[in-house]
Symmetry: C2
Subunit: 220 residues, 2 copies
DNA sequence: GTGGTACCGTACGGTACGGTTCGGCACTAA
DNA sequence: TTAGTGCCGAACCGTACCGTACGGTACCAC
């Protein structure tokens, strides 16, 4: 659902660009956040980055290639938040989940994430839209990697129980995000309660334990 | 989050258009679903609807006015699914919730809903984007009207318990939709499990009762 | 018939954008 | 010094689109 938390062992795999090219991509990203997809023209990017259009086309081949490069760049920029740690107590496991929920809320509400998701969604209708798939892959990467491992560790330690890991994760996601993401994508603003991510995260994790927790160790 | 279930007592308030104009809007909607926002040009709409561009501009004033009219038209097309019924038994209440969940899944996965949401999201970054707010209003209308009344009725009858109605609804929404909507918006396809809306709806409502149900009457 | 109105089909002006080309500058290597 | 390379800035081309204007047609009122 986002790109800013992609976990990959090799940072070069996603950002195989030179320093100068990364600067250009950063400029493009700022331009996108500031003015939306309409402002992301090749001339505008070249102007903002103090480079020529010729270089843009030499480096990224195409406008679509440039957009894909922006996505890849952003994915490689903010990477893993730290290695997975095996929780030893129920409280530690719960804290990990709360932290994950908090991170997810913060990431999805970020300017860059919203701008890139809007861009990908806006052109997802066209048949040649590989951008949406790209965003999904990176988002799925992050989610599958971090949350999946976390849930599995919790289950191995006997704090929670579920049949299908994917299903459990999606429920966790739903409890955390609710209609939050779509509303932000549509331009809505958050009310005071929703802006308190800490509280929201704790409530969501409480509910998750109520659904999947084992009363003996990690339940209510 | 969608427009296809707007509930309004006065159908004319949202579709104050002539028969001919509604035909044109219907053509525009089909065009949007077929080719995405890129295909929704004034010339294309005029061609598809067998009308002149001059008429488009006389009727809707502007291209943005035309898009807003499309949204309003779609909102007024599929209206309330029936008056709210006071559930008398816990089983009936649960059936109502399952039906609501099923409807929500079907609506949000519909072609028209996805196309319009993509359109609104794609241009939600610009400051003059009233389209996202329009979609939100209509979606919120539907949600607040139907689900809110349903939950309130269930609480009045003692089947569920909650402090904040808005909060309870958002949890319900999260349990039903999860990451379903955003993934579809990004162009993802559903796996077999997710395409079984009936099963998904029942599971979501089971989970909702586990969180908000009163064990005596409506709980697990 | 005559004027008015609403409409269609088409063509046009203006603009914006994607992509290409060209001249020029700085730097490097022989 | 000369040739080559990488890049910038700017001009350019073809295209697509928005919004408007114009000619022609059907219908209605009087």
């Amino acid at each position: 659902m986002t790109l800013t938390l992609a976990i990959d062992s090799d940072p070069q795999a996603y950002s195989a660009f030179t320093e100068r090219q990364n600067d250009v991509l950063e400029s493009a990203l700022r331009l996108l956040v500031k003015g939306g997809d309409k402002a992301l023209t090749t001339a505008g990017i070249a102007r903002a980055a103090n480079c020529s259009k010729e270089s843009l086309y030499r480096w990224f081949g195409d406008r679509d290639g440039l957009l894909a490069a922006v996505v890849s760049y952003q994915a490689s920029k903010v990477r893993a938040l730290g290695p997975g740690v095996m929780p030893e107590t129920a409280a530690a496991f719960r804290a990990h989940l709360v932290r994950f929920a908090n991170d997810l809320l913060n990431v999805l509400s970020g300017d860059m994430s919203l701008a890139l998701n809007r861009l990908a969604i806006g052109q997802a209708s066209r048949s040649d839209a590989h951008l949406g798939g790209l965003v999904l892959d990176r988002g799925r990467n992050m989610i599958g990697s971090r949350a999946g491992a976390l849930l599995e560790a919790g289950r191995a330690c006997g704090f929670i129980e579920y049949d299908d890991a994917n299903d459990a994760f999606r429920t966790l996601y739903g409890l955390i995000i609710r209609d939050f993401h779509v509303r932000l994508l549509l331009g809505d603003t958050l009310d005071a309660d929703e802006a308190a991510f800490d509280k929201q995260a704790q409530v969501a994790i409480d509910q998750f334990f109520k659904l999947y927790g084992l009363p003996a160790k990690g339940g209510v």
